[in-house]
Symmetry: D2
Subunit: 460 residues, 4 copies
């Protein structure tokens, strides 16, 4: 029997709601949920009275870009942000040097992660118009999902052609994995940028104007089409529009295999923040008008949105500052892994009248399920990996970039007062982060485990 840890007095959050119980961990697993663990001997006792105890966050959309040349975030620093942000598992995106697009890349990336990561991690494979054989190699190496950009992202990650989309959808229909899509229409987007540039526009709002909602909605419409035609599971990344979510909702109702994520930037920021933040608010899809933001919340509330992920991109401040006078010079993406779930939890519980069950479903159970990690991840049931996060849902703190633990010390939420704070993060039974006033990292690089496809059903 392993080391025993007892978490006492907390309110346990599950998909169905929350209830008062103690949690007993033995070794790496949840051993028991009990009303009263006071009689149980333990190597460690954690007082969770007045706190919320939930399954560790499963952030399925991170960009640690490791190996990376130059390095931007990496598994180690990314893990620091994650554990401080209530995340115990990430599913890392295929952007790296090189882009993950064949079996060897996955092996290499896995090795890097196993060496540096604190959080457990699974891997996306990139579908970049390569041969299906290379995709099958990645599947053989245990990736949990495939990812394509419908709009070109970078030299290493060109836009997937419709032919690629169709072929990959057919393949994922056979294999049974989700096909994640950055859903923006490549042509509309490029034309939009060219038009704004031709007008001499370089201000922050030019970025948003260059890719209005229809750019995203068309791509989602097309992704759903391919899913419906092939039976492959479309996973819509970072949805930012009410129009896109309405399409997803209707598709689900007629039985199309589709799920959808959104991100904190589409829930807690809007285009006024883009105006204010300039390059530090540049991401894709862009920050939207307030109406869209309210629309996205509506589809969170009605169950259309399955997942909230960070889409964390750890760009350097210098690279972002390059866009101060010319928004087009700033790289696309926001840092956010550390702030995501505290902000979302605050908004859900204190602003939006949503319950703990909603938070657990969107931050842990649903992502674990969609990416075949459930029920080893994403739940507190006995036998599950003991990935546990304790929140003080009443504690207020103010977001400051300098307090971020990830590599690059900035955040688009600078100055936001958040009422909900991670006070402890436990991965497979070991406390990796705690904050009794002062944050303290106790996790060590190289302890994060690689999670192959189907991990959720594995016994050992």
């Amino acid at each position: 029997m392993g080391r025993r840890v007892v978490i006492e007095g907390g309110l346990l959050g599950t998909e169905e709601g929350a209830f008062r119980a103690d949690l007993v961990i033995e070794g790496e697993r949840i051993a028991a949920i009990t009303l009263d663990a006071s009689d149980i001997d333990a190597d460690e006792r954690i007082d969770a009275r007045g706190k919320l105890v939930v399954p560790g966050g499963v952030d399925v959309h991170t960009h640690f870009k490791d190996p990376g040349d130059p390095p931007t975030e990496g598994f180690y620093h990314g893990s620091l942000g994650a554990i401080a942000g209530g995340i115990t598992t990430v599913v890392e995106m295929p952007q790296a040097t090189p882009t993950s697009s064949e079996g060897a890349h996955i092996r290499q990336k896995r090795a890097v992660g196993e060496q540096h990561s604190i959080v457990d991690f699974a891997l996306w494979g990139g579908a970049v118009n390569q041969d299906l054989e290379k995709i099958d190699e990645m599947i053989d190496e245990g990736i949990v999902a495939l990812k394509s950009f419908m709009a070109g992202s970078s030299p290493g990650f060109p836009a997937a052609t419709d032919d690629t989309l169709l072929a990959v959808f057919r393949r994922v229909a056979e294999v049974g994995i989700p096909y994640g899509l950055h859903a923006e229409n490549d042509d509309l987007l490029e034309a939009g940028i060219a038009r704004l540039k031709a007008q001499g526009r370089k201000d922050p709002m030019a970025h948003a104007e260059s890719r209005p909602p229809i750019v995203e909605i068309e791509a989602i419409h097309r992704a759903i089409f391919f899913a419906e035609q092939t039976g492959g599971h479309a996973y819509i990344c970072h949805c930012s529009t009410a129009g896109g979510l309405e399409l997803v909702k209707a598709a689900k109702a007629r039985g199309v295999p589709v799920s959808v994520e959104t991100c904190p930037q589409y829930l807690a920021l809007d285009e006024e923040d883009l105006r204010r933040l300039g390059p530090f608010g540049r991401c894709a899809p862009p920050l939207r008008a307030r109406d869209e933001v309210e629309g996205v919340w509506r589809y969170v509330a009605d169950g259309t949105v399955d997942v909230i992920s960070s889409d964390h991109c750890g760009y350097t401040i210098e690279s972002k500052e390059a866009g101060l006078d010319d928004i087009w010079q700033a790289p696309l993406g926001l840092s956010g892994i550390q702030t995501m779930y505290p902000i979302v939890l605050d908004d859900m519980l204190h602003q939006r009248g949503l319950d703990v069950g909603t938070f657990v479903r969107l931050s842990a159970s649903n992502p674990a399920r969609i990416f075949s990690l459930y029920p080893r991840k994403g739940t507190l049931q006995p036998g599950a990996d003991a990935d546990v996060v304790i929140y003080d849902t009443e504690r207020e703190w103010t977001v400051h970039g300098e307090d971020m633990l990830h590599r690059n010390k900035w955040t688009p939420f600078e100055g936001r007062v958040v009422r909900s704070r991670v006070v402890r993060t436990i991965i497979r039974g070991r406390t990796v982060y705690q904050d009794d006033g002062a944050p303290m990292v106790t996790g060590e690089p190289g302890t994060g485990r690689f999670l192959p496809r189907g991990y959720g059903r594995m016994r050992d």
Copy 2:
């Protein structure tokens, strides 16, 4: 601290599936779910190795008719059938002497139940075209739902007029309780019977022919209309047709507050059984053609059906035999409380490829939720009432009327071989029934608790 019971070695069933864990009960509540309770001292240890441990069944559609003149089933005998059938809570229908239709009736019925019941029980109130004031009286007495017949059932339970339907739907929209409907069109049904009788038909199939699927489908169509217009929750009782379930599915998709139950007779019997069983197969809606049965299973599998209940009617053999030569003389309703969940579990796991999660949702969690008993009932989470049923899902037995524990010793499933057997039933921590080869009742009348509306959220 109360008496401690440990259930060891079993497979625990939840809404999300099943996992290996031990269950610890203290007093009346679930105290812990733990991977290994071998170290925990206990007053009683129950060996569940190789067995399935699930939340006790919540049968929301029983007809104990207590007080009844003459008595037919009663809370005591009904409870015996229930506990032998894996049921720990019933929601008892308003049929009784008199029909529950005002506050005093509920008080009286509650008193009878508290004196005789072994299972915990909540109560339906009847909406029988009386003044809304009397309905409000029943609401004040703690009923969890209202029930109407869209087709007249008995002198004490006339068909609800459309005006009643509309008024009650508006009232339940305010109060937030479900409005259960026996959904058959009164006029079509009466005309159908008159037509068949005029033809001199007295054979069993005349019963089915007199109320074809359209009789039910029209009523469901209308019930959904009122739910959609008013915002009141329509709870469709004992749905027997694919056409009706399709309407429910479409209504749910557009946001209408509606839920639906079916019963074992529409899943495990068909019109050939009616032909064979004659009066002992007469119920309303009638047993259906094989196509309809397969259709109902389809909507069980896709999640449209929310609840499986028994609609248990404990008629005497004599009263049923009155229909041997003339089907119209047999009363409407089947006995089935003891056989329901074992048969459903057998069919789900061994015939239909469905999982334990589906069984738990339809037999326990969903009914508890819809009738405001969740999470005190319908789940095994710590803090919940320790209502637990242990099944041996491999043990085969043959259904015989003489083995039934309810008052009247007959069953429409006579001779059916069932692979799934209740081996123990626990209500609030006390074993009330067990079967280690020979069934043994240990529960005592008067121990069943009355469950008022909102019981699920009550702390004590």
Copy 3:
């Protein structure tokens, strides 16, 4: 060759719009449509310069109640109102003494009409819960449609039971005729009246409050259900609610055989008129709130509404005045046959931006088609019956009850200024009415023709 009449210089209205042409009539038929008939010899030349020439109105919903005891309107007086109102064919409702409900009644009614009518006429049969054999008798006598009340109308016209509805829908599916329904829910309506009466309400608005939109919408919802289940054609009479029309629109889109009429009272009056008019504004369904009226116009504009008919009820002023102090004492129904199409045409062309094509479709072609009278009626194509109405669409007049030609000299449109006036009405080639400043009737009783089912395809 018969007598030749030339109508010169007018604008010809068809379903597709309007164009400049002369019309040549020979005997009873349209002989030619020609750009220039000035060379054609004619017995009579009618100058239509600046006028609109359209197919005679086909009013499929009239209550002449002939034979009637006591007589209220009758074929003769009803015809006078019709021809002054641009109507050349009526389909007369089965209310009479006795209600048309068997073959003999149709023969008798036909004989009365052939003796007294000026306009051509077809007949509805009543489906009043009688044996289907009697319905078949009426079909054999040439009725063009069947009619039921979903809410009871009078002792002779009880509410059709759902069993009747189902049986008649199945029969009309075989025969291929429309089944017209007065769509109000009997029970809701009776309960509503009882409630208002119990409150001591006798004011005009009590009438409207007693049968709110849901009373009609439920009935339409159910009618559509039966049409969808049976394949029989539901013809929804006098629809007064946007909610009902939305249901019809959706049903049409999924292929249900349904069509729908509205009446001028739901287009050109609203509940403020009921308040003002008292018993003279009492009809069923009642005059509606302004929102509903605008809603009905929306469904006129989008093509959902198929027919505009009068639902003309020629009650005596005395009988209406009985409701002055007690609205419940006034009979249900409005006089309107003479004012309908001028008002509708005025509103369409001058207020609502609709075109002549819409007017022709709703007043002539569609009703002729639905009731199997097309293309002998409802169109100006050569070979069709020469039923022609000439409007001066710019001439203004003021509605006065005393100017009505039907028997009882009142109108709910008293004082309304109408810009569109019937200046000539021609039935099968003979001018029956003209108005060159002073109205003049030239039609003679007994010249109206009985139109049996299928008349539209008859050659002679």
Copy 4:
């Protein structure tokens, strides 16, 4: 007054059906429709007894490619095929040398047509990713519609980008003209061809396999999306799939501005013909499997299909023969202008149980309406242009390439026996073609009129 022609004794076809009447033409216009024109003096009397007299066909999809270098068909030879095929108006596609893509091209093309055409003609403009200013130039020159290829067609006609589609849809929403789309997905199609070629496939079926139904369905799905988002009218060219038509039907039901054409090759040929004909059966979309063909007929019958056009491409036999050993070498497109309407009329009346009204709507009235030529074109109403075609619907003939009057003497319908023959074609009052046993052309080049946008409402 112009020359007077009387067409006697025929059955006149209209959108609503057919009826017996004589037709009187004066000068260029229909002067009268009359039951009996025997008294009317005429310069010419045409005996149409036993014949069908319909509005001249409006073929909105022709490829005369004039000016063309080298010339392939041209307005003159194309006209010959047209008039022998019952077509009196064409809307000529922008393919030519150069592709019509700016104002000057339209002026030039108009001049060529005015010099050589026998049939009246309107012009499409090409949307080939050029500046919107050039599109506006073409609009100013009177084009009736814009056309894009969603899959690249030729160097002069590249695939429209999504940005072009969006911009043009927005523009046509303002202008109120249809935006015609060759709806095949460029990327899927190119990839499909590359794949088949890589396999060494050169056989005819390789062509069909390279662009399966999904290639078309995706493009239609996207076209509808843009129409719905912008309010611009999508006109789907040559739809060949049931799946595409189902999308159109659903879009129409929810109010999207969309219309759709199909062609004889998708109604009267199937993939077995492609196998048989080889290069002479190569077109895009390709000939489809029998199931699709039956599906397309279903949507013709239910009114989803608005237009039947020829997509006539007059390739030389030599150019087609280049594909005999290698299907990819044959140009895409079929000759068919002369055979289209006789075959369609035969199939509708004699094989498919459809009526003359359907033929008139799809061959004349609908295309005229959609392209703003109605009611000057597409109807026989007095005042319309006297474009008349007389069919002998009982006369049988066998299709032979050598009998074709268009430039290149081949046809994919070689050997087909057709029961329906054009016996006379009249354009604005002048007989341009007749066949009393031997075909005779009497029309002269340069008599065809250019029809600017809005011609249908022009008085002169």
